[in-house]
Amino acid sequence: MSYLESNLKTVPTGLSKVLYLNWPLVILLTAVASTGFLMLYSVAGGTLDTWAEPQMKRFAVGMTAMFIVAFVPIWFWRNISLAAYLVALVLLIAVEFFGAIGMGAQRWLELGPLRIQPSELMKITLVMLLAAYYDWLDVDKVSRPLWVALPVAIILVPTFLVLAQPDLGTAVMLVAGGGLVMFAAGVSLWYFGTVIALIVALVFGVLESRGTDWQLLHDYQYKRIDTFLDPSADPLGAGYNITQAQIALGSGGWSGRGFMQGTQSRLNFLPEKHTDFIFTTLAEEFGFVGAFSLLMLYAGIIAFCIHAAVVNRDRFSSLLTLGVGGTFFFFFAINMAMVMGLMPVVGVPLPLVSYGGTAMMILLAAFGLVQSAHVHRPR
């Protein structure tokens, strides 16, 4: 009998679980999603049915999923972690063979009326499996090389599949999310230090080798790096997107140009204005006040996750909560850093705001796991 099950008596049952949900989190999520509806309405030129309305429907479905997931005891989710991961992995492989082509990369799988993006599913099931793994593993074995190698493999297998699609953004997210759970589980800092040192060495090597005989990348790849470092060098070519995004963002000023008054997105200077670059429209129309408020809403969600993880004494629950919160964090941090020119452009949407079905519904279901961990925590 595990530690958790010994304390079952005090866990709420039936409909009374509603009272024990983490309600501030629900409110914050709804606030973020509502910002999204507003922006989708605006970028569609004041029409609901283009993007805003489908997005609202998906939000309703996702919220329902969140409550259902939250009501199911957390130990059930722990027990199916491995199965869920394997299912996601099989779907990811299936997409290689039968996937539809979306935006130049194979990402979707059509199953009857359902269109699923297995890579989105993988982001969460990976975190679940790693949390379950460290829940199972003895604490003193956590940093032994062999027991570190296994979770690294668990992370890298789907990462390579996703890279083959090719979807760099999701690959980065998988490594970051998985690494975060390993970090939280207490894997020795030496490992992380070594990996970071290697990455720094690699970046250094790549940049230094340019123009020499042992050049590590192709010329066009170096060109992309140049574009990132100085987008204004090629404003009408490869740097066009990022230059336009920054102009829109910066021109927002303190309070913005006003709702539906953004000239940059209106005139179609902005690329992908309803998906990856939606933050620029928000920043242009609502200025620093709006953009910073959204950042604070996101930070609030993360704060609640960390708090819930710290107060929860069950190891699986804590790690899962940190993992989901961390994945969510990487979503918005990478997206914002990307549109503000702090990072190269990789395809990562702004969570709950960007237009996109699978990502939103899976994120909400993942927050259902966080809620379930919270409701069924040992008391």
Binding site: T47, G186, G250, A309, R315, L322
Partner: protein, 648 residues
């Protein structure tokens, strides 16, 4: 059990420690993001605001001109014409209803069109230009262009659109283009951005579809300055695209035109092939349709007329239509038997008018029988019993092997849509397809091209060309690409003894030229163009024993779609073969009466390079041929060059 409470408490503390470290890192990153926001939006806001005001340079794509398609002599088959159209972008308009009302005063828009347009405007994203009117006459277009400043959101545009000057003649070979659909886009990996231009034309069928990547070309870019309302103010510079590559087909424009006219009202097909190079000079399927209808967007009514016609104008019968080849298959059986050594050309078989095999009676078309028959006579008079006998000696596998050698039962490698594979049946095939054993009766039927055997007119033309040349010629449709001539491949020799082929050719010559030949009435009397061929009549129904006893119902007393298919394959000149032809007339009756005269006319046209001279025909037929040629609707070869070439 495994985990002691102390262990858990310690691990919980560890997680808390790490969680706080994570939290700290996340706070730092959020702070960085916040500071970046502050820097960009507060400190540098003025600078970015200025950039935004001056942000007036937009990039527009210039659609490339689609590659042209020419016939073998450089006559235009598919060209481009100027297309005047008007588009509307909701984002640039202030009051949609007012603009549309004003627009209706300038160009004719029916109430239904207007309703559809408003619906389209409401549904599409606001920045997508929507086509209001396409193919406007110059007067309407110029009226809109003059008034454009008063119509925000309305853009008059000049583009290129595909035109097929003699559309119906080439509809099946060349196919047609149409506006890119969402379905098209979803099938292409990394679609070229040019495909997202509204109403951009994409090859949908035939050569247009198969050579899409070559014909399309590459888009150019235009940098334009726009004002704060998004309207173009001036051009800042342009980078020209590349027009698509031109294609030259092996088709002969005039021959193709003549063939379609000659096929007339029939549901029929004709293929002419050069026996040495494999060039397809003519590939006509009748009736045809006007591909220009599809380019403009075909109306439901027109489309219904095309799909409901029992002569199936949309199907390309030359490569998609599969038919039992009937007696035209006898050369296959004969060559198979010769190769096997089962017979020599002198072997005779007695034909009493029928043959009993396995308790079933197989009839010759001639009830009285042909008496003793050798190879040449069997072809000349198309004796069935001779081939029943051969089939029993060699079996189906040897026949189908020979069919493959002659190009039947394999998919011709042609850049056309839905090219059929045909069928040279084997025992294994029947077992797999129907789960039944091969019967001797199946072999008997196959020996005269009935039963399971299926071939398209293209197959039959290839077969005839191979017999005529003794070489394994492959059909070829494209002569030059992007101005570069594609050399014809040297065809390898067929693995057949020259003496056998000579005998089969003698038989085919007798079919047309001998006194008792089945196609004697279609002979050519000019010595240098004499033709050799083989008739075929393939049943589309079973004749029961009861009917045979009463007397077989004549074709002209049957409903059209129950009549026999008429086939004829031929090559000419006899001594030095140049062209091979196959003609099928669906439900046309006998091959000798319905198909052979058409084949002769087309073949003579090909040899003469124009309407055949009356001297080529037997004197008794010349009067009829003259009237026939006067009634055909042919393009004037001289007007072709001047009329068509002016369009670019």
């Amino acid at each position: 059990m495994r985990r002691s409470p102390k262990d858990t408490a310690e691990s919980s503390r560890k997680i808390t420690r790490r969680a706080l470290m994570l939290g700290g890192a996340q706070v730092a990153i959020v702070a960085t993001l916040g500071l970046r926001m502050r820097r960009m939006q507060l400190e540098q806001a003025d600078q970015y605001r200025m950039l935004a005001e001056g942000n007036s340079v937009k990039i527009r794509l210039i659609p490339p001109a689609r590659g042209l398609i020419y016939d073998r002599n450089g006559i235009l088959i598919a060209g481009n014409e100027q297309n005047y159209r008007v588009t509307f972008t909701r984002d640039d308009a202030d009051d949609v209803d007012r603009v549309v009302t004003d627009l209706r005063r300038l160009i004719a828009l029916s109430d239904a069109d207007t309703a559809a347009l408003l619906e389209d405007i409401r549904k599409r994203p606001p920045t997508t230009p929507i086509t209001v009117a396409d193919r406007l006459p110059w007067d309407d277009f110029s009226r809109v262009a003059v008034n454009a400043p008063a119509l925000p959101g309305v853009t008059p545009e000049v583009g290129l659109s595909r035109i097929y000057p003699r559309g119906a003649d080439f509809a099946h070979v060349v196919g047609y283009v149409g506006p890119v659909s969402d379905y098209d886009l979803s099938r292409i990996e990394n679609p070229d951005p040019v495909l997202r231009i509204p109403k951009f034309q994409l090859g949908k069928l035939g050569v247009e579809a198969k050579f899409e990547d070559d014909l399309r070309g590459h888009a150019g870019q235009r940098r334009v300055e726009v004002n704060s309302a998004g309207r173009e103010m001036r051009d800042l510079g342009r980078q020209e695209g590349e027009p698509g590559e031109n294609l030259q087909l092996t088709i002969d424009y005039k021959l193709q035109n003549y063939a379609l006219a000659r096929l007339g009202e029939e549901s029929a097909a004709a293929v002419v092939m050069d026996v040495t190079t494999g060039d397809i000079l003519c590939c006509s399927s009748a009736p045809s349709f006007d591909p220009n209808l599809f380019v403009r967007g075909i109306s439901v009514k027109d489309y219904k007329t095309l799909t409901e016609d029992d002569h199936r104008p949309l199907a390309d019968k030359t490569v998609q239509g599969l038919y039992p080849p009937g007696s035209t298959y006898k050369m296959v059986t004969a060559l198979a038997a010769l190769k096997d050594g089962a017979i020599t050309p002198e072997t005779t078989v007695r034909c009493p008018g029928h043959l009993e095999v396995g308790g079933r009676r197989f009839h010759c078309w001639k009830r009285a029988g042909h008496g003793p028959v050798n190879l040449v006579k069997s072809l000349e008079q198309s004796c069935d019993v001779y081939y029943y006998d051969l089939a029993q000696r060699i079996g189906i596998e040897k026949m189908s092997e020979m069919a493959q050698i002659l190009g039947l039962g394999t998919r011709p490698d042609l850049p056309m849509s839905a090219v059929a594979e045909g069928l040279a049946p084997t025992k294994a095939w029947k077992q797999e397809r129907y789960g039944k054993d091969w019967l001797i009766g199946d072999t008997i039927n196959a020996s005269i091209g009935q039963g399971y055997v299926l071939a398209s007119p293209m197959h039959l033309a290839v077969m005839t060309a191979r017999i005529a040349s003794g070489k394994a010629v492959e059909p070829r449709l494209v002569r030059a690409r992007g101005g570069v001539e594609i050399p014809a491949r040297e065809a390898p020799e067929l693995p057949l003894d020259a003496a056998w082929l000579a005998q089969v050719r003698r038989g085919m010559s007798a079919v047309v030229n001998a006194e008792r030949g089945t196609a004697r009435s279609s002979r050519v009397v000019m010595a240098e163009w004499k033709m050799a061929g083989k008739t075929g009549t393939s049943q589309v129904r079973n004749i029961t024993a009861a009917e045979r006893a009463r007397g077989v119902i004549r074709n002209d007393q049957l409903p059209w779609n129950r009549r026999d298919h008429a086939l004829f394959v031929a090559y000419a000149p006899v001594d030095n073969p140049k062209y091979a032809i196959s003609v099928i007339v669906e439900h046309g009756g006998g091959g000798s009466t319905a198909a052979a005269p058409i084949a002769r006319d087309i073949l003579l046209f090909a040899l003469n390079g124009g309407v055949p001279p009356l001297d080529a025909y037997p004197s008794a037929q010349r009067g009829r041929i003259r009237t026939q040629h006067e009634t055909l609707d042919l393009v004037d070869p001289d007007s072709v060059s001047s009329d068509v070439k002016t369009r670019v």
